[in-house]
């Protein structure tokens, strides 16, 4: 602080609390209440970064979220560091560490700066045109582009911070706590509405709260004094919930909005422990009022990007709010009256103002007259034609405009200037309005887009709506809010507002220079280095749509999303093509309005909470017995149980051998279970399954195949008839929810006349499936009184028995081909019955097996798994399961589709078995099958769907879908792999026990 840049200001900055921070390795000081930007400026630091393409030195330009240049890396911790943080938005805290981005090796000496001198070679579309070819060069390009471009670095470690989500509901949501938002909040609250007021800064009041001129008066008080009283009033209002440091990220349909609140980013790192860093609010509002204000526009002239060139409103805010002078040789360059407020602030704070350059011919408003009376030199009808100073502006050169404003005349005048405050008028922040689907209209008077039509219950007020002068802002906000809320009278009805009124307007999108355009650099998008030249080039090359021009020139595609640049880009396109700006339309504003961290978006849904998962009642047993799990839908299913360091292959071989030779046990609790009741339950099954159900007797089970209406296999499972009008259907694990909703759909919409009720009971029952030659002996040990003879309890039948107090439903059904019993008990007894089976089976080496072994065992028998051997394109005929299609039934879901011209084609892919010539060679699932691999293009005949090594058969087996597979049995085919070609022979799909003898033990 060698220069005298701090002005005493006790209102918003606490000079008793000195804070230290480190910028690019240098220790500096600021005060509580500073932003990082104001603290840097108070240390006379403007240069903070380099631009993206030309690596030109860039300085702090604004005081808000529209900042294109002052984008810093905050923190140096691998987990906590934050890239792309706007210095204008982050509040200073003690110990803050920050570094410039996008400069290599340093902000003061940047190798990429050479691009600046090469810039004639780097026009719009340069990257598209150059780095496209040759493709093999891309790796070389990439190295340099990444090294010298790149915006900041991402954290490399897991984010240790906590984030939170919360739902909120309100009658009126007000976005933006400036004067119009505050008035609207008060009017709504006085009408007994529940109001939620969001403000992205730490304090309410917007720009009026630090307004210090003597011209604006509300009810005969200084406007900022009047506003302070209103804020006090609102803070004590029970109808109004205020969330500060909260910015609206997205405005979706039906008044659903997302807002992000910063809770700890302004605290020193030590004070953040165990606190939630950011909270995402999911808001449903009956009505929304947008009062987000307006952003000042820059002016577009040659070399308008030097550090020290800032928005006039920012220069004013740094003085009036933060007490910081941005320079000691100030010049204002404007096309409108608002910059004269900056002149008054500079004057009042005793800061030197060398001159005002105004492109207008004159202005005679109250505020301009006041500035004139202070003796400040004003150059009317002049423009800046060039600026000097590489790392900080030190001089400007101005010239007189001609009558048309498209050229300059007369002599050059050189002025000293270390801070050029520019103003090109104001742009309403209509981003949220357009995000919500609202349509804009163009206002020719102020050259702005303003909200027009919307389908939602919302209102834009204040400068968001295009009102810029205090009396318009207040009176229209009051009037519009009352109308919006259907209120007759408010406490603001007699408000008296005095302010200066602008009379002269003039706007030139691209200001002329004494040099030809091709020799100048009038920047539009400071971050992406796009200039007015680039826009003109894009137009010459035939790009007409504004969306195309934007992408080709990258205008408005930086992290600031072109908040400053868009209007000038549009204006230049309109001028060049002789189009009306209203007809051009704008580019699309997409959420989020300001960047969100990923942490905020995911909230608490991280780690084990990322997705819900389901556990069976026996889950803990599996864990304790070293099971490896696989995800099946949301279920965690035991996959295999490795013993003593076994590989998966070895474990599966052991498990499946045990199941075939003695006994195995599987946790089948995850299968979907649907309880079906009603007098039409049997008819219902006839309609949803392909086979006939009419003759099924009570106590019997039947396998069913369910199709989609297009004839393709959808699901399968065994259904048991529990009583006259009572069935228990099982479905695949993954298909349970879909089958349930599909059946419900048919019942409610196609067959409402059927008396059928469906209840999902998947979670209600646990299932232990005991199989193998010794299964009967094990079941007998547990259920001593149960007659297990084939006469009394044959295959595909069901018994209900009690074990103490436990009601057990036992089905004798088999998915392995072995004698097999499935014991279903209420879920809470699941672990008990499982352990009972393990205990009883000990002497028979009962072996728990997982899904992998189950898949192997069923594949040996040629049983399909829906979703593995089928993929939504397989009919039962394709699966060679013609036997399950009832010929007698008049109709069932999908029947008509089974004889469409496409489904009766004989050259469809059909399910077959495959045997490898080398019995030890295991095919890869998904591998392609071909006949001739030399004839290009190679004709793909099908692919492997299931493949295993069978320990019982001592050879590899596979299932596959193959074009015309039924006809190809015995044929030799090839499975080409990356390093070899495997010879295979097409076989039957049943590899083991074709006679089905094992099923009886």
């Amino acid at each position: 602080m060698s220069k005298n840049l701090r002005i005493n200001n006790k209102q918003f900055v606490d000079e008793t609390r000195k804070l230290s921070f480190i910028f690019n390795g240098k220790k500096l000081y600021g005060y509580k209440g500073d932003t990082l930007a104001s603290a840097l400026l108070s240390n006379d630091i403007h240069l903070v970064g380099r631009s993206f393409k030309y690596h030109r030195p860039r300085g702090i330009m604004t005081s808000g979220s529209e900042e294109p240049n002052a984008i810093l890396q905050i923190g140096n911790d691998d987990a906590l560091t934050d890239p792309n943080v706007r210095a204008t938005e982050i509040e200073l805290y003690d110990g803050l560490i920050c570094n410039s981005q996008n400069c290599w090796p340093s902000v003061k000496f940047d190798i990429g700066g050479i691009n600046n001198f090469l810039s004639p070679l780097l026009p719009a579309g340069f990257y598209y045109k150059t780095f496209m070819w040759p493709a093999s060069f891309w790796e070389k390009y990439e190295y340099f582009i990444r090294k010298s471009a790149g915006l900041g670095k991402s954290p490399t470690k897991q984010d240790p911070d906590m984030y939170d989500h919360r739902y909120m509901h309100c009658d009126i949501l007000i976005v933006g706590g400036g004067v119009s938002g505050l008035i609207a909040a008060k009017i709504a609250s006085d009408d007994n509405k529940k109001v939620l007021l969001l403000e992205d800064k730490e304090l309410l009041g917007g720009s009026l709260i630090y307004d210090d001129n003597d011209i604006s008066k509300i009810d005969n008080q200084k406007s900022s004094e009047w506003l302070k009283k209103l804020i006090e009033n609102i803070k004590n209002d029970k109808n109004i919930i205020i969330k500060t440091r909260t910015s609206l990220a997205a405005y979706h349909n039906y008044n659903f909005l997302l807002a992000r609140q910063n809770l700890t980013d302004h605290l020193s790192v030590n004070d953040r422990n165990n606190k939630i860093r950011q909270r995402l609010y999911k808001i449903r509002a009956k009505k929304v009022i947008i009062s987000t204000g307006a952003i000042e526009r820059p002016q577009v002239f040659h070399n308008n990007d030097r550090p020290g060139i800032m928005l006039a409103s920012a220069v004013k805010k740094y003085i009036d709010y933060y007490g910081v002078r941005c320079g000691l040789e100030n010049v204002i360059f404007t096309n409108n009256d608002s910059a004269y407020e900056t002149a008054l602030s500079l004057h009042k704070s005793g800061t030197k103002l060398n001159a005002i350059i105004d492109i207008r011919n004159n202005s005679s408003s109250e505020i301009v007259n006041k500035v004139k009376s202070l003796g400040i030199q004003i150059y009317w009808n002049h423009t800046v034609v060039n600026t000097k100073g590489y790392k900080r502006i030190n001089k400007i050169i101005i010239m007189k405009l001609n009558d048309k404003g498209n050229d300059v005349v007369g002599k050059k005048i050189e002025l000293n200037c270390d801070c050029l405050a520019i103003s090109g008028g104001w742009t309403p922040m209509v981003h949220l309005f357009t995000q919500s689907g609202g349509k804009l209209k163009f206002d020719n008077k102020d050259n702005i887009f303003v909200p027009d039509k919307t389908n939602l219950n919302q209102l834009s007020i204040g400068s968001t709506k295009g009102d810029f002068e205090l009396d318009d802002v207040l009176k229209n906000s009051i009037k519009d809010t009352k109308k919006f809320l259907q209120i007759e009278n408010s406490n603001f009805d007699k408000i008296d507002v005095k302010c200066s009124k602008e009379k002269e307007k003039k706007n030139i999108w691209l200001l002329p220079s004494d040099k030809p355009l091709s020799k100048t650099k009038p920047f539009l998008d400071y971050q992406n280095d796009s200039t007015a030249k680039d826009i003109k080039l894009a137009l010459r090359e035939g790009f007409k749509s504004i969306e195309h021009v934007k992408r080709y020139t990258t205008t408005g595609m930086g992290t600031d999303q072109g908040k400053l640049a868009n209007m000038h880009a549009l204006g230049i396109v309109a001028d060049t093509t002789n189009t009306n700006m209203g007809e051009l339309g704008t580019t699309t504003f997409r959420p989020p309005y300001t960047p969100l961290t990923f942490g905020t978006i995911v909230g608490r849904n991280v780690g084990q909470f990322f997705d819900i998962f389901r556990k069976t009642p026996m889950h803990d047993w599996h864990v304790n017995n070293n099971a490896k799990f696989e995800n099946v839908g949301q279920w965690k299913r035991a996959w295999y149980y490795p013993k003593d360091g076994e590989s998966m292959h070895d474990a599966v071989q052991r498990e499946s051998k045990a199941a075939r030779e003695s006994s195995g046990i599987l946790d089948a609790s995850t299968l979907g279970k649907i309880d079906i009741q009603g007098t039409d339950a049997n008819e219902f099954l006839n309609r949803v399954y392909t086979n006939a159900w009419s003759k099924l007797q009570i106590g019997k089970c039947r396998y069913g195949l369910m199709l989609n209406e297009d004839g393709m296999v959808y699901d399968d499972g065994v259904t048991t008839k529990l009583g006259e009008n009572h069935y228990l259907m099982t479905t695949t694990t993954g298909g349970a929810a879909n089958v349930m909703s599909k059946l419900e759909d048919y019942l409610q919409t196609e067959w409402p006349e059927l008396d059928v009720f469906l209840t999902s009971v998947t979670d209600h029952y646990a299932t232990a499936s005991v199989c193998g030659p010794n299964a009967k002996k094990i079941i007998n040990k547990i259920f001593k009184d149960l007659d297990l003879s084939d006469e009394s309890f044959p295959h595909m039948s069901f018994k209900e028995v009690r074990l103490g107090n436990i009601n057990c439903r036992i089905m004798r059904i088999s998915f392995t081909g072995e004698l097999s019993y499935e014991i279903n008990v209420e879920a809470s007894y699941g672990k008990y019955i499982w352990e009972k089976c393990i205990e009883a089976g000990k002497e028979f080496n009962i072996t728990p097996y997982g899904t992998e072994t189950m898949h192997l065992l069923r594949a040996e028998k040629g049983f399909i798994i829906v979703g593995q051997d089928t993929d939504g394109t397989m009919t039962p005929v394709d699966l060679q399961m013609d036997w399950i299609i009832s010929k007698r039934k008049y109709d069932f879901i999908g029947k008509r589709s089974l004889y469409r011209s496409d489904t009766i084609r004989e050259d469809r892919k059909q399910l077959v078995g495959l045997l490898t010539d080398d019995p030890n060679e295991i095919l890869e699932e998904g591998a392609q099958i071909v006949k001739d691999e030399n004839k290009k293009p190679v004709n793909m005949l099908g692919h492997v769907t299931s493949s295993y090594f069978s320990p019982t058969l001592k050879k590899s087996i596979a299932l596959a879908v193959l074009k015309e597979g039924k006809k190809l049995k015995g044929q030799k085919l090839l499975v080409p792999m990356i390093d070899k070609t495997i010879k295979v022979t097409v076989s039957d799909t049943v590899f083991l026990d074709k006679e089905n003898e094992r099923i009886n033990g």
Partner: protein, 91 residues
Amino acid sequence: MFLINCPYCGERDQSEFVSGGEAHIARPKQPTELNDDQWAEYLFMRKNIKGIQFERWNHAHGCRKWFNVARDTSNDKIEKIYKMGEQPPKL
């Protein structure tokens, strides 16, 4: 994320519902009588219009009931909600 007024439960967030496509396509009573083209008309052909579209919706994470919705596809505005079996409103 729109709001849907379930005729059985009241207004709920869209995330509780699933869409079931175009409404008022009745499953033919006698599919076997239909030729391939007629069956394909039922099976595959769906409108995709800009404007008011009649759709089926299911309160999947609520009462599980199906009902009909007349929705303007250009802005997701729901013009009318009516029960299964009722005739589409004239809009």
